[in-house]
Amino acid sequence: MNWHVVWESRSVLLGGALVTLELSALAIGLGTTLGLLVALIRTARVPVLSQIARVYIEIFRGSPLLMQLFFVFFGLPYLGFDVSKLAAAVWALTLYSGAYIAEIIRAGIEAVPKGQKEAAYSLGLSPYEAMRYVVLPQTLTVALPPLIGFYIGLIKDTSLATIIGYRELIRESQSIIDRTARPLEVFTAVALIYFVICYPLSLLVTRLERRVPAR
Amino acid sequence: MIEMKQVQKHFGSLHVLKGVDLHVRPGEVVVIIGPSGSGKSTLLRTINYLEPIEKGEIWVDGTPVHQHKDLRQVRSKVGMVFQQFNLFPHLNALQNVVLAPTLVLKKSREEADEKGRALLTKVGLEQKAEAYPGQLSGGQQQRVAIARALAMDPKIMLFDEATSALDPELVGEVLAVMRQLASDGMTMVVVTHEMGFAREAADRVVFMDEGVIMEEGAPDDIFSNPQNPRTKQFLRRVLEK
């Protein structure tokens, strides 16, 4: 084992880690927004839109993220739209995570007893107010553990961007390996970086799961 | 049949059994009564060594259980019925009954089935052989559990508050099966709060409190003329209800 090469490449690795974090933050933010929107459309049973939402969820949860990434990265230029590698990665991760997050949030909304909404209406709250101030806050306690669990998955899934050549952590590590021919040492360092990012979140999930009473 | 000598047991710093002596003769029906938390269940569970003991001796049908010898063999000779039934929910009534005879006694499927159906008939459930525990009432489940224990041809049956988890109207059907067993001559140790059962079916009643046997004797003596003030107090409280 030659850990020297890892130490020498530390700035490249940390730069890659930063890019991975940026990509993760974008995907989490946009994916959650999209997911919330889709979940609300589905629970409110908005005609047409809610059927479209269902098909969207089935397709994006039913096919591999990599396929979706190829679709965006190779398909959009084919249709005449220019996409950068970053934009392709963000788009694919957003569409993919939106489908999963929609289902997580919907399950959370459905876990709130119906009496809660009825009580809010009987107090004179509008449907928007009932959702915003009564149902969604309770949804959060149920949905937060699986949601953070999914975020962990999403952070790891940003690694797929390396396959379309985006210079995130794994791509950077491969260029180091090309120079140094020390794959195991470099990959170990990369694994460690992912672990340092993800493990605290995993611990958080475990703690939240213990706190939320099972219904 | 059962011989317990100076049995001691702690749960952490809690001294649950403080030197218990108990002797049960073949065919005898011993009913243990006492306030909750007094160590009745623990005592019962030491007999088939579900609870290990720290000091003392337990002999079951000549086997020194406290020496961890032939534990499985002893257990297959000692049937146990739990408060929560503990039927196996993935198996139907008959499968519950024949599981141990086929696995432990290596009986053939046909032999075990035949005996299993006979036992279900005995407890009044011949119609329910194919029903799963989730489809049975509490009283029916407990009767299947009794049949399951009997399928091992036990020499001793232990009952730990077998009717406590049942709705009041279902208690009678389980007690009836237990009475039948008692009159068939089965050796039984029964922990219960059913004083009526203790009075009629017991050969001997044992009153336990704070990890010791305070008083024991024939049911008539214990119920009509208790000697120990604790026994008097306990009986006054339970019989008032």
Binding site: E58, I59, R61, G62, S63, P64, L65, L66, M67, Q68, F70, F71, F74, G75, Y78, L79, I152, K156, D157, S159, L160, I163, I170, Q174, A181, R182, P183, L184, F187, V190, A191, Y194, F195, C198, Y199, S202 | N48, L50, R72, R75, S76, V78, M80, F82, Q84, N86, F88, P89, H90, L99, A100, L103, V104, Y132, P133, G134, Q135, R148, A149, M152
Partner: protein
């Protein structure tokens, strides 16, 4: 402007890929389940080194990307003289990855069985192996069946990553067809729908199997 015949004309290649996908996913899942069973037992062992190893395995795998795990096995291990072909490396990586998740799923299933169930089996004189095999595991499997099915779907979808080490699975062959025909949208739309149909069919069939294996309202 679109030529939807492009994927159809290359159906044989795509179907070959589909077969590879199904084979790789099924094999990986079987190994992963075995690993998960061993892992779950190890995590419940009274022998702490075993518990420790199993915990490290689970946490390391679950907190690093599967793509990295694939690369370690395919590109990393040869540097210490351990070489696998792409398909083998892929199956190993997917098994090890999914095994960590199944360890936790199976462990939770075993934990969900009440102490009373085990005591009833002990009181009947069953051996520890009989208690696990006949009482604990069948009930645990019933309780965890939905997440186990979900794991299979995850393996099925995750197998597409093996195209990154040139495994000729459905995704890999889709790339080949794409570069042959330049009909990107048509080919990828078709393949995406094949995947979606596949996962819907697989989960439908497996749920049906579940209803056959664990019949009736047998829960209490």
């Amino acid at each position: 402007m679109f030529d939807w015949g492009a994927p159809i004309r290359n159906l044989d290649l795509l179907m070959q890929g589909l077969v590879v996908t199904l084979q790789v996913a099924t094999l990986s899942f079987v190994f992963a389940f075995a690993l998960g069973l061993v892992g779950a037992l190890a995590r419940r062992s009274h022998f702490w080194p075993l518990r420790f190893v199993a915990t490290v395995y689970v946490e390391v795998i679950r907190n690093t990307p599967v793509l990295l795990q694939i690369f370690v096995i395919f590109f990393g291990l040869p540097s210490v003289g351990i070489r696998f072909d792409a398909v083998t490396a892929g199956i190993i990586a997917l098994s090890v990855n999914s095994g960590a998740y199944l360890t936790e799923i199976i462990r939770a299933g075993i934990q969900s069985i009440s102490r009373g169930q085990i005591e009833a089996a002990i009181a009947l004189g069953l051996t520890p192996a009989q208690i696990f095999g006949r009482v604990v595991f069948p009930q645990a499997l019933r309780n965890i069946y939905p997440p186990v099915v979900n794991q299979f779907i995850m393996v099925l979808l995750g197998s597409s990553l093996l195209s990154a080490i040139a495994v000729p699975d459905l995704t890999g062959n889709a790339l080949v067809v794409n570069s042959r025909t330049y009909r990107t949208v048509e080919v990828f739309t078709f393949v995406t729908l094949v995947y979606a149909g596949l996962t819907l069919t697989a989960s439908g069939l497996l749920n049906l199997l579940g209803r056959l294996l664990f019949p009736r309202a047998t829960a209490r």
